[in-house]
């Protein structure tokens, strides 16, 4: 248990630093790479929570696809790879106030609600359960999600293509 706790602490620390880097970095690419770290950290946390399948999907979809998309986006919009001073707008202070207040609020709520309740991680390998549930109980959202992806595909192409 202790190992898990230490692992959580270390990963969480890295994730937080990386996350801050994502939103403050003056370099677009560095921000994207920091995002990769956060996403990977999330995947690691999934493993800690015995959700390996989700962790794998996280790595494949996010790091494998989404971040690549971002990098493409960065290139296509010709952002300078190097230092860029004006990535932030003039709302930094209000933005900080809002997000910090939100943070305080959430922490207070969560403390109030869950206190020090523990997670008892069940035996790993519930992938079969997930598969069964998706194809029975969550059949409809699954099918719909497939159409959604198709629609997003078609639409994104139409929008993004040059005519």
């Amino acid at each position: 248990m202790l190992g898990q706790n230490i692992a959580f602490g270390v990963i969480a620390l890295i994730m937080m630093m990386a996350a801050v880097q994502v939103v403050t970095s003056t370099n677009v690419v560095r921000a994207a790479l920091s995002l990769v770290i956060v996403l990977a950290g999330v995947a690691a946390q999934y493993i800690l929570l015995a959700a390996e399948f989700t962790a794998v999907v996280q790595v494949m979809v996010y790091i494998g696809a989404v971040v690549v998309l971002f990098l493409f986006g960065i290139m296509l919009t010709r952002a300078r790879i190097g230092h860029e001073s004006d990535l932030d707008n003039s709302n930094k202070i209000p933005a900080f106030i809002v997000s910090f207040t939100l943070f305080v609020l959430l922490i207070a709520l969560l403390r109030d609600a869950f206190g020090r309740q523990k997670i008892h991680v069940a035996a790993p390998s519930n992938t079969a359960q997930i598969g069964t549930a998706i194809f029975s109980t969550y059949l409809v959202p699954f099918e719909v999600a497939s159409v959604l992806l198709l629609a997003a595909l078609v639409g994104a192409i139409v929008l993004a293509r040059r005519d």
Partner: protein
Amino acid sequence: MVLNWFLFLAAVLFCTGVYGVLARKNGVLVLMSVELILNAVNLNLVAFGAFNQTVTGQIFALFVIAIAAAEVGVGLAIVLLIYRNRQSVDLTGIDALKG
């Protein structure tokens, strides 16, 4: 493990994402911040799933992951569209519609 550790971590990610969305002016960076928020949600879901001893949390997270990918795709398409017409992805300059 204490549930709230995960939840607090998620809250940090969430609020960082919110800050990013509000404070960044590059469209792509804003989208990245959105991803932070969505990952916070996912972390929440998986943690709660483990807490409640059910896979529903994971399933929910999987749907979110899938759809978030589609969303990002669409978002980037729109950002590209804007870039094409304006030669810039600076969101602060986009205020032709107002009032």
